[in-house]
């Protein structure tokens, strides 16, 4: 605080607000798209009708006369130019116009007794009408308060924050049961004419208002049509599956495999989950219809529908969950979490139920959604035992299910990576031993849990398991090949590799290269060192120093292979060097290992040398 300010009396100031700017922010930045203007109009209309009905009910309870006119909403469209949105709700008095339409944030839905927003209403924040400025430069509203001999008032608001009110002696808001209530008249602003076409308005009405409890009528050239059924197909009536399926088909414009009614007391949530007929990726974003008090709130089920339920499209109506300010989602609180748990339980019970009682349905369901269900098996312990039997694993004996694996007598040996599986599968296959590829998503975790559940032996393939697939040479063959092995070891030492001779299948495979994790790390460190700044050399060398000195990869020569047999008979080490190096690099390539520059160079050189010799021999 500056010296001149110290000790002076403090004065109150008010924040200054640029109303036009605020309207722009609220209407252009709070809402995700101009589409929502229809939603906001519907919301205000429904709330106005609800307000009138509450008032009438209070009048009746107080013994006074009250009308029982059914609520209605009518949209009269002048194609591409104008929309007149009418409701026969409670309307507004002049005082209410000043209070609720002129003060942003002042909601007409507050209970006068305590200032709290009543839960009967959809809207809460008093900013909905502003969304109309996204499609129109001018909002004209005619309103007549219901239940009294109230005048028709006209309110006209502009985006610069100015408005006018006047009494309209000659105007009406409507006839008959639309003689009171509110009419909002919007004219298309340039560039927004599309939002005033019958096609777009119908689409938006269907999208947002399908579950609203009051008839919504579209009037074009004098012809009127109701677009909504005014009841929830699953609520308060005997659930008819066929009717639910048809409803889902109408809402999502696709056919489904099955449907699951959902209900949660918490949040007063009810609805249906439709099972999709085609495979969906686990990472797919769900497309649902989540309603709040019968008005569409969002298509995203993020907080309400379990993440793993990507095989569903849900229609859900909630009455007691709290929407966010933009009304495009829910606040995450205990009530919402409880509702989500109830939905999750319903879906899990459905899956468990069809697995037990409707096998054909379950088989079909699993076949389509297996990837997602593998993820679900891990997420829902209750379902693991059921689902894992159906999960498929790639093995050297073809695709095996969890059931096949848990009923086979041998230990379950797996290759942790695709590369390792590729490297070893030939050996295992030739020996009729099973190796499981767990590099696929969820496979490893499923296999481990399967092992735990059924007490099975599950372990990764180790060097000693690989050596089990090979046979030691007979003493005579050992003698015959001794010199070759010594020479091969000398040649391969430069590559941190040693030579071994074994018998193994398939016979047409001359070599097999086995590299363990330590050698792999060593190669990676060497690759880094060749590129890194010298600042890192000591660190990289220290990592290398930790790797035991006798660590070496192994190049197994197959003594069953005719080429290898001939090789062992060669004496000239210069010739042997070329051939052994070629076989070494070939083994690396077959095993899917990255070649270092010197290895590729070596291969090229040796092939050229052989070619030259071949050509000069001619």
């Amino acid at each position: 605080m500056g010296r001149e300010m110290r000790g002076r009396r403090m004065k109150d100031y008010r924040f200054q607000v640029n109303l036009g700017g605020m309207i722009e922010i609220l209407s252009d930045h709070l809402y995700s798209s101009p589409d929502v203007y229809i939603r906001e109009l519907l919301q205000n209309g429904v709330d106005a009708i609800t307000g009138r009905m509450i008032r009438e009910k209070e009048e009746k309870e107080a013994g006074r006369q009250a009308s029982e006119i059914a609520g209605r909403i009518v949209l009269e469209i002048e194609e591409g130019r104008q929309l007149i949105f009418s409701d026969n709700g409670q309307g507004l008095t002049e005082e209410e116009i000043h209070q609720f339409l002129a003060i942003i944030g002042e909601s007409s839905k507050r209970n006068p007794a305590d200032g709290r927003i009543r839960t009967d209403y959809i809207g809460r924040f008093g900013i909905g009408l502003l969304s109309c400025f996204m499609v129109s430069d001018h909002i004209r509203m005619l309103t007549r308060s219901a239940g009294k001999e109230a005048p028709v008032l006209e309110w006209q608001g502009r985006p610069d924050g100015t408005y006018t009110i006047r009494r309209m002696e000659q105007e009406q808001v409507g006839k008959g049961d639309m003689a009171f209530g509110t009419q909002v008249i919007l004219s298309a602003k340039p560039g927004r004419e599309d939002y005033f076409t019958e096609k777009v308005i119908r689409r938006l009405l269907t999208y947002y208002g399908m579950l609203l409890p009051f008839p919504i009528l579209v009037r074009v050239h004098g012809k009127e049509e109701q677009i909504n059924p005014i009841y929830l197909p699953w609520d308060g009536r005997e659930t008819n599956k066929q009717e639910l399926m048809l409803f889902g088909q109408m809402m999502f414009e696709e056919q489904f495999m099955d449907c699951v009614p959902l209900r949660s007391e918490s949040g007063n949530v009810s609805g249906v989950a439709y099972i999709i007929k085609y495979p969906v990726l686990p990472s797919a974003k769900g497309s649902h219809r989540i309603y709040l008090k019968n008005m569409l709130l969002t298509e995203k089920g993020d907080n309400l529908i379990p993440d793993w339920a990507v095989f569903t499209k849900c229609i859900i109506n909630a009455t007691d969950l709290r929407p966010t300010a933009s009304r495009e989602g829910f606040y995450v609180d205990e009530v919402l979490e409880s509702a989500r748990d109830a939905i999750e339980d319903a879906l899990i019970d459905y899956i468990a139920g069809i697995a037990e009682d409707e096998r054909e349905v379950f088989d079909h369901f699993f076949h389509i959604h297996k990837l997602t269900l593998m993820s679900l098996a891990l997420a829902a312990p209750k379902l693991f035992g059921i689902l894992v039997d159906y999960c498929e694993f790639e093995t050297t004996r073809g695709l095996q299910t969890g059931y096949d694996l848990r009923t086979c007598a041998e230990p379950l040996v797996y290759a942790p990576t695709e590369a390792k599986y590729k490297q070893l599968s030939q050996l295992f296959f030739a020996q009729d031993k099973m190796l499981i590829n767990v590099s696929y998503v969820h496979s490893l975790e499923l296999l481990m849990r399967l092992g735990q559940l059924y007490g099975l032996e599950v372990h990764p393939v180790d060097d000693w398991s690989v050596e089990d697939l090979m046979e030691d040479l007979t003493p005579d063959d050992q003698d015959d090949s001794f010199a070759f092995q010594k020479a091969a070891n000398r040649i391969l030492k430069a590559y941190d590799c040693r030579a071994e001779l074994k018998y193994f299948s398939p016979y047409n495979q001359p070599t097999f290269y086995l590299m363990d994790e330590k050698i792999l790390l060593k190669r990676q460190i060497e690759a880094s060192r060749s590129q890194a700044d010298s600042m890192f050399f000591q660190m990289l060398d220290a990592f290398t120093a930790e790797i035991p000195g006798d660590t070496a990869a192994v190049l197994y020569f197959n003594y069953n292979n005719p080429l290898v047999k001939k090789l062992t008979e060669r004496e000239a080490e210069a010739d042997l060097k070329i051939l052994v190096e070629i076989l070494y690099v070939q083994a690396l390539q077959i095993g899917g290992f990255t070649l270092h520059n010197n290895e590729l160079g070596m291969l090229n050189r040796n092939i050229l040398t052989l070619m030259e010799r071949g050509l000069s021999d001619e």
Partner: protein, 374 residues
């Protein structure tokens, strides 16, 4: 499923999608390595850098950091050779590739203290290099001091506190860790200083989920729980620690920082030996194969404590365990001398402690080992 990139062309987007679908662990690391090879073969510099940084991320958060320590020098070399490399479309929020590299550099600084293999002189060189690059790039030194504080935590308490106070004074910028992560570190600082009230005051926002980290709302909250758990374990207040163990145990987070099974082992060794034994049986093999030096120390220290307690509580001198031949003291009979197991793990812990202390020029690790066993 495990999609492969087409041999006919190079599609980094498909490659990325394929490895992202994999579980965290060796399979994913192998797939990312394949992605690196593909980018190298196509000379696609932005993706050569990006895929390497993805390997760093996978190694750091879901692995043992060794792959990150090995590959980071390559990333820095490539980024230095091509300083104008733009960030890929998968790196929103980074100005260019070097910006992302600077972000990951912080993880290297954090891990320097956890790898005794990195000579002290080199650790200081990395810090100085990061400092120089930060300033050259237009960033301030808040992260530099933040990680310097963490680096000296187990080496030099005086320097550690000085670095912490420097960090606090510098305002945040875009290269700082998120507010939630910084807050957790600050809370941990006050816990270590014994200022419980201050720590609790600072914890409120994370407890209420008003301060969160990344996509998962629970991450910062779990990290907070981990700090409190380790604080109480350090003070041997096991009943208090158990509350936090219980919370962390039930989480299904794959991040290695929340897989604190050795801490749970240590806690339950004093509260519920049966449970501790189950934990040992479930995790002995992964602990044997651990490559992260700091974790090797803490794991072996905790297992040593476990066997010491087991020795005290059990009447018999042996215990039946289903270990396999990979275990250095493997017994076909399955009967193991508790004393032998204790000595085995103590020796492992001691060896690593001595290496750390030798590198650091202090006695922190050996003293800690002696203290927990006293």
């Amino acid at each position: 499923m495990n999609e492969k990139y087409t041999a006919d062309g190079y599609f980094p987007e498909e490659i990325k999608r394929a490895f992202e679908a994999l579980e965290h662990g060796n399979a994913k690391i192998a797939a990312i390595r394949s992605a690196i090879e593909a980018a190298d073969a196509s000379d696609d510099t932005p993706f050569r850098i990006y895929f390497r940084l993805e390997l760093c991320r996978e190694s750091c958060f879901y692995g043992d950091c060794m792959d990150m320590m090995v590959i980071f020098p390559q990333v820095l070399a490539i980024a230095d050779r091509y300083p104008d490399t733009p960030a890929t479309c998968y790196e929103p929020g980074y100005l260019d590739a070097m910006d992302h590299v600077l972000w990951v550099y912080k993880w290297i600084l954090e891990e320097c203290c956890n790898f005794y293999q990195v000579p002290m002189a080199d650790c200081l060189k990395f810090f100085e290099d990061f400092r120089r690059r930060s300033l050259a790039y237009g960033y301030n030194l808040r992260p530099y001091y933040y990680y310097l504080y963490l680096f000296y935590e187990k080496i030099d308490p005086v320097k550690s506190r000085e670095a912490f106070h420097m960090f606090e004074q510098i305002p945040r910028d875009d290269n700082c860790d998120c507010r939630a992560c910084e807050r957790n570190t600050i809370i941990d600082f006050y816990l270590q200083q014994g200022q419980m009230e201050r720590a609790k005051e600072l914890s409120a926002e994370i407890e209420n989920f008003d301060l969160t980290c990344g996509h998962d709302k629970k991450e910062a909250w779990l990290r907070l729980k981990r700090h409190y758990m380790q604080h109480y374990l350090g003070r041997r207040e096991f009943e208090e620690a158990e509350t936090y163990c219980h919370i962390l145990e039930r989480q299904r987070m794959k991040d290695t920082e929340f897989q604190r099974w050795d801490d749970f082992l240590y806690c339950y060794a004093y509260l519920n030996m049966g449970k501790a034994l189950r934990i040992y049986k479930a995790h002995w093999k992964e602990w044997l194969e651990e490559r992260h030096p700091s974790t090797i120390f803490s794991v072996n220290r905790n297992i040593t404590c476990f066997f010491k307690k087991l020795q005290q509580e059990r009447k018999q001198a042996t215990i039946k365990l289903s270990l396999d031949p990979a275990f250095p003291l493997y017994e076909e009979s399955g009967q193991y001398s508790i004393a032998s197991l204790y000595r085995f793990y103590y020796k492992r812990a001691r060896e690593v402690a001595e290496r750390f202390d030798e590198r650091n020029g202090s006695h922190y690790y050996c003293n800690q080992l002696t203290e927990v066993l006293s």
